[in-house]
């Protein structure tokens, strides 16, 4: 067997294990975030539909859906890699991976790919279910796919960083509650940032989540708060930055190899 083959199979095996890990508990990892998103949809659209109009000719419920899809996609990509790592660190079974010849790059690719699959899958299911409730246009499918893929990669990478850094479950919970949640809610999932006071508009523009959601939404309506090209540049920039940090950590063996 060639070396290339062997490496490919090693990476693929880890990817497969990571996918099975969440798929075995799909009720918790897929069904539950879908339900959460639908509850948001029901409540917010019911309460706000008559009061808020963000874009002309776009009902609030339709406006909301891309934001909810992206929010769930990002949260689940993050949850997959971070919880897989923290669990196997706390359980100690991460040694099974550390004892293998898998390189840090293979490790990164496999965990990232599985996180992306979960994020994208959850997002897609929410999209399908939402179609029962509203007519959702698709103006630029290319932008939709681009931001979905980049967003899941960015949060999958972020999840790996958090999973390596955290030693305990409560540290991970703190990370979720104090970093991920605020970034999601201050990103324009539920509103256009133009409806915010000037100060919070400026703050939002430093939030990478804002660009992912705005670019993603642009794909549906052909309208956004900023140009999708700007969003693309910002998101790619953040992704490269985080990937660089993540690979540095993995390469040095930070918190994994003493």
């Amino acid at each position: 067997m060639s070396l290339m083959n062997q490496k490919w199979r090693g990476t693929y095996t880890l990817f497969k294990k990571e996918v099975l890990r969440f798929w075995r508990v799909a009720f918790q990892t897929v069904a539950s975030p879908v339900l959460t998103a639908l509850l948001y949809l029901l409540i917010f659209s019911h309460v706000l539909a008559s009061h808020v109009q963000v874009y002309e000719n776009v009902p609030y419920t339709a406006f909301l859906i891309p934001g909810l899809i992206m929010m769930s996609l990002l949260q689940n990509a993050f949850a997959n890699s971070s919880s897989s790592l923290i669990q196997s660190k706390v359980m100690g079974n991460i040694v099974f991976i550390l004892l293998t010849p898998l390189s840090y790059l293979q490790f990164y690719m496999a965990l990232l790919a599985a996180a992306m699959i979960r994020g994208l899958f959850v997002g897609f299911v929410i999209y399908l279910v939402a179609l029962f409730f509203v007519d959702l246009p698709i103006v630029h499918v290319g932008w939709i796919l681009t931001f979905a893929v980049l967003g899941s990669a960015l949060l999958g990478t972020f999840g790996i960083i958090a999973g390596i850094w955290a030693d305990k479950f409560d540290q991970m919970a703190a990370f979720q509650n104090f970093v991920i949640m605020p970034l999601t809610f201050l990103s324009g999932v539920f509103y256009s940032i133009h409806s915010l006071p000037p100060f919070w508009q400026v703050v939002s523009k430093f939030n990478p989540f804002f660009y992912m959601i705005d670019g993603f939404r642009f794909g549906f309506f052909g309208k956004g708060d900023v140009s999708p090209w700007l969003s693309l540049v910002v998101v790619i920039g953040f992704l490269l930055g985080l990937a660089w940090v993540c690979l540095k950590m993995l390469k040095s063996g930070y918190k994994l190899r003493g």
Binding site: M1, N5, Q6, K7, R9, G10, Y12, T13, L14, K16, K17, L20, R21, R24, V25, S88, M91, G92, N93, V95, F96, I97, L98, L99, T100, P101, L102, S103, G253, R257, G258
Partner: protein, 311 residues
């Protein structure tokens, strides 16, 4: 032929603590090697450096000639490690875990026959489809051993594989490991069951506080460090004074005398006759690794209290 395992001046510090203090050790291919020492001697640390779980502070280590840092992929391909801690992945069953483990090393379906052989050899065949979470402790230990063997490594390191397993499994495990050894696999074992090391290992290293204090064939160590013992049952009579210098232990009229030479039996008997002491029972006791162990590492450390010594 390249050695199976080699350590060159390996040091490992954890902050202030010097866990390993210049370990030099070469284990040739095909050997059944024992690594002994009290709790905290540094056995696991040494193994973890070999496995790449820890980085040495100084020095190098290699497996089958591959440096564990600069050529880690080849080194890990050649190495199977059973960790000391009983860890498992609760999401999968035994067979899935073994397939994954082989897969990480680039092995696929062609490896299934070997996986079956491992399951058979470790008595796990009927547990193959049981979730890891539902296995008993001893069964988890077997699965842990099976996982280390999944990619059929030429060098196998077992860090206390028999802690907490019953006698039956211990027999089964050792039969299986001995078979692997006969087939050419190099085996390194740490254990607190000294008797186990004595019967299995052709060579033994004893560690103490991060250093190797003895390294020799098991037979030589026994000869060098442990003479025979003479066990005397004397009823109510005290031990004659000239024999006190040989006394190792004694209570309730049962005395254990250490012999540095067999001719001392003669001396002991004549002293007893002189003192007119009746011998109720007498036994010549062969030395075992326990004695070697005690004479090398026992004195300075009270931590070996929890050594399990079978009799």
């Amino acid at each position: 032929m390249k050695p199976a395992i080699q350590f060159n001046r390996v040091h490992k510090n954890f902050g202030e603590l010097q866990a390993l203090n210049g370990i030099d050790l070469t284990i040739p291919q095909g050997e059944f090697f024992g690594l002994l020492g009290p709790n905290g001697a540094g056995k696991s640390t040494l193994i973890n450096i070999l496995a790449g779980l820890l980085k040495p502070t100084y020095g190098t280590a290699s497996v089958m000639g591959h440096d564990v840092v600069s050529d880690y992929q080849a080194a890990r391909m050649a190495l199977g490690v059973v960790p000391q801690e009983l860890v498992f992945d609760p999401f999968f069953n035994v067979r899935e875990m073994l397939r994954f483990q082989a897969g990480y090393f680039g092995r696929g379906r062609e490896n299934d026959a070997w996986v079956d052989e491992i399951l058979e050899g470790l008595g796990l065949t009927d547990k193959a489809h049981t979730n890891m979470r539902k296995l008993s402790g001893g069964m988890k230990r077997r699965a842990l051993i099976a996982q280390a063997l999944a990619h059929k490594p030429p060098v196998i390191v077992l860090d206390e594989p028999t802690a907490g397993v019953d006698v039956e499994l211990r027999q089964m495990l050792w039969e299986f490991i001995k078979k692997l050894n006969r087939e050419g696999h190099t085996i390194v074992l740490t254990t607190h069951y000294l008797e186990e090391a004595e019967t299995l290992c052709s060579r033994v290293a004893m560690m103490k506080q991060g250093e190797i204090v003895a390294l020799d064939s098991t037979a030589n160590l026994l000869n060098k460090f442990a003479g025979k013992n003479l066990r005397l049952v004397l009823g109510n009579a005290p031990l004659p004074a000239p024999l006190l210098s040989m006394l190792k232990s004694g209570e309730h009229g049962v005395y254990m005398l250490a012999l540095s030479h067999l001719s001392q039996v003669e001396f002991a008997l004549s002293e007893l006759r002189k003192a007119n002491v009746q011998i109720e029972d007498m036994q010549l006791i062969e030395p075992d690794l326990e004695d070697v162990f005690m004479s090398l590492v026992g004195s300075a450390s009270h931590r070996n209290d929890d050594l399990i010594i079978q009799s």
